[in-house]
């Protein structure tokens, strides 16, 4: 078996070490969409959306159900084809790069983590290292995998099969896999949806840490409080268009949130940090 495996790995890496991209400089635009229009079944789900994400920042995509958050993320990831407009990653249009090159530049966390076969957790996380196979960074695999599992607190069940985990545990394993990919652009679709309070905070702290380390992070969130506390900028989507974009204090206003979500809210400053807290107006 070992002989077979090593023979196969020699065969499949016979192309030699590939050229690796240089990570984008701090503050540089890592990901950019301009005049993006995406249609589904003839209906424009996104129209005229432009957004820039720089290295070192966390950008939250928020908006009501059906506003186009996930579609925007899919378009940024290269999954949803743009009817018009372009998405550029690392200064070149997405469509110009093959999947193997994109994988070195961006990692994507899907909304739902599925697995056809019961791989153990550690192997799932290790799948995140696949883009680096046959490159000089292959040697980092063990350390990176261990680090990603520790950061997401999944090391405790590293040997359990994926399908024996709870929804929240699966979500964290999927995040660990995405972190292990070590791509300079992270696209996360509702990473906190299945998580408890503690792990929601954990995930967004990880986002901040990745940004501090020089990654560009785009995260779809439902919880405006989390977005306000952790994002550098918030992009509010409304009916396929960008309703507002900017730092949390500028974007999260009673007028805008009330209009976009069709739910009156109060926006209060946090007593400690001063970051905006969004509270729905409830009639007793």
């Amino acid at each position: 078996m070992n002989v077979l495996t090593s023979l196969f790995s020699v065969l499949s890496s016979a192309r030699g070490p590939r050229e690796l991209p240089t990570p984008p400089a701090p503050g540089q635009v890592a990901l950019e969409a301009s005049e993006l229009r995406v249609t589904l079944g003839g209906r424009a789900v996104l129209d005229g959306v432009g957004i820039q994400v720089r290295t070192g920042e966390v950008v939250a995509l928020v908006g009501p159900n059906g506003a186009g958050k996930s579609t925007l993320l899919a378009a940024l990831a290269g999954d949803a084809a743009a009817a018009s407009g372009t998405v550029r990653i690392d200064e070149r249009p997405l469509a110009d790069r093959p999947a193997s090159e994109l994988a070195l530049r961006r990692a994507v966390l899907p909304q739902q983590a599925a697995l056809s076969f019961p791989f153990p957790v550690e192997e799932v996380v290790r799948m995140g290292r696949a883009p680096w196979a046959g490159t000089v960074r292959e040697g980092e695999d063990d350390a990176v995998v261990a680090e990603a599992m520790a950061a997401t607190e999944v090391a405790g069940f590293a040997r359990r099969p994926f399908d024996a985990l709870s929804g929240g545990e699966r979500a964290r394993v999927a995040l660990a896999r995405v972190l292990a990919q070590r791509a300079p652009v992270l696209l996360l679709d509702e990473p906190t949806a299945a998580l408890d309070l503690r792990h929601q905070e954990l995930v967004l702290r990880i986002c901040r840490e990745r940004a501090r380390a020089g990654d560009a992070v785009v995260v779809v969130l439902h919880d405006l409080g989390l977005a306000a506390a952790y994002a550098d900028r918030i992009a509010v989507l409304h009916e396929g268009r960008l309703a507002a974009e900017g730092p949390p204090r500028e974007v999260l206003t009673e007028e805008l949130i009330g209009r976009v979500y069709r739910q009156p809210v109060d926006v209060l400053p946090h007593p400690g940090t001063g970051s905006p807290l969004v509270v729905p107006r409830r009639h007793p």
Binding site: M1, N2, L4, T5, F8, L11, S12, A77, G78, D79, P98, A99, S100, E101, L102, A103, L104, R106, A107, V108, P110, A114, L115, S116, F117, P118, F119, P120, E123, V124, M127, G128, A130, P131, A133, R159, D163, R177, Q181
Partner: protein, 363 residues
């Protein structure tokens, strides 16, 4: 002995602790399977109406390889080299092809119930083969039946794939129902070809349809060798990408896999392997289902072991099956396809029940 084992321990730095009992399982399984394969090959070569002792088998093989040993008498030599060994070789090729095709198929469909026989690819390939017998085609000489089986098998895989997928995944119900439809259509085609066949062709078709290795000859081995070897050689190269495909199509693409190309190549490989098996041995079902499944339970779902492991395991199962088919009811011979279906069907039934339970009903 103790000195040689202790010496490196004293000088070598302490090995990094690897508390992974699962790590050695694939290696152990490979050794066991290969040992079983050699043992079964020797048994198959010796056992039968004309008994050849184990030592004589080895002796004759060594004799022919020019490594000493001794030849047998004229009858023994002829039985061994013209009857038994081609059959052993054919069982090896067919079993390896079926096992490997099953593992690949399950990986491509992301569904543990996918198998060439169950979802109708064997039947499709069989329809191609029967058609070529009835129409008396011989444009590729010895390879004609294999070629027709391959073409029909490939068309069938593509149809099944297109029909059973929606939204990037294959649901169990869609897959099984597609299989029923394809099996029915291929069955109708086979019936039609039989209707138009003459008596000699009919007996050839019927015999072959039951699934049997009884008419093994060296030319038959040669007829399927290219297909089987090509498929078996290419398959393991895609093992790592199959692992990633288990995450789903989009995540696999995010990790750098060219999913479209991967699928096309593997569908071709599955068609090659299925055609190789069907062209010589008829429809032998459930080997591709049973073997990968058992290996997955024993050594985990990683395709780097599963794909080559299923090939070896398939060869073991088929060789054991063939040995049983021609010895349990001796001097009569059971059709091999009937035997594998007899054992495979209950297993399939159990697998269906289990899938249903884990999915909480049918999707």
């Amino acid at each position: 002995m103790t000195a040689t084992t202790e010496a490196p321990e004293a000088t070598a730095p302490p090995e990094p602790e690897r508390p992974k009992p699962g790590r050695s399982t694939p290696f152990l399984l490979t050794v066991v399977l290969l040992a079983a394969l050699v043992l079964l090959a020797l048994l198959s070569a010796g056992l039968g109406a004309y008994h050849i002792a184990l030592g004589d088998v080895l002796g004759s093989v060594r004799h022919r390889a020019g490594l000493g040993g001794h030849g047998l008498d004229r009858v023994g030599e002829s039985v061994l080299w013209n009857v038994r060994l081609p059959r052993v070789a054919l069982a090896l090729l067919v079993g390896a092809s079926l096992g490997c095709a099953g593992a690949l198929m399950q990986g491509v469909f992301g569904n543990p119930l996918a198998e060439p026989g169950v979802i109708g690819i064997s039947a499709g390939a069989a329809a191609g083969a029967v058609g070529s017998i009835t129409l008396g085609l011989s444009f590729f000489g010895n390879w004609t039946i294999t070629f027709c089986a391959f073409t029909a098998g490939l068309a069938t895989v593509l149809v099944v794939y297109a029909m059973s997928r929606s939204g990037g995944r294959t649901e169990v119900v869609a897959l099984i129902l597609t299989g029923i439809a394809v099996n029915a259509f291929a069955g109708a085609l086979i019936g039609l070809f039989i209707f138009f066949a003459d008596n000699a062709q009919i007996s050839q078709i019927t015999f072959w349809q039951l699934g049997s290795l009884a008419q093994a000859t060296w030319p038959k081995v040669l007829a399927v060798l290219p297909c089987a070897v090509a498929g078996l050689a290419v398959a393991p190269l895609y093992a790592r990408r199959l692992d990633l495909l288990a995450l789903g199509e989009r995540p696999a693409r995010h990790l750098g896999v060219d999913v479209e190309r991967l699928r096309m190549v593997l569908v071709l490989v599955v068609a090659l392997l299925t055609a190789a098996a069907v062209a010589v041995a008829g429809i032998i079902t459930f080997v591709g289902l049973l073997v990968p499944h058992l290996l997955r339970m024993a050594a985990g779902p990683g395709h780097r072991f599963l794909v080559p492991g299923s090939a070896i395991g398939g060869a073991v199962v088929l060789m054991a099956g063939d040995l049983a088919a021609r010895t349990v009811a001796a001097p009569a011979e059971l059709p091999l396809g009937v035997l594998t279906a007899l054992f495979g069907s209950p297993f399939f039934f159990w697998l269906l029940r289990r899938t249903r339970r884990t999915q909480g009903g049918w999707a």
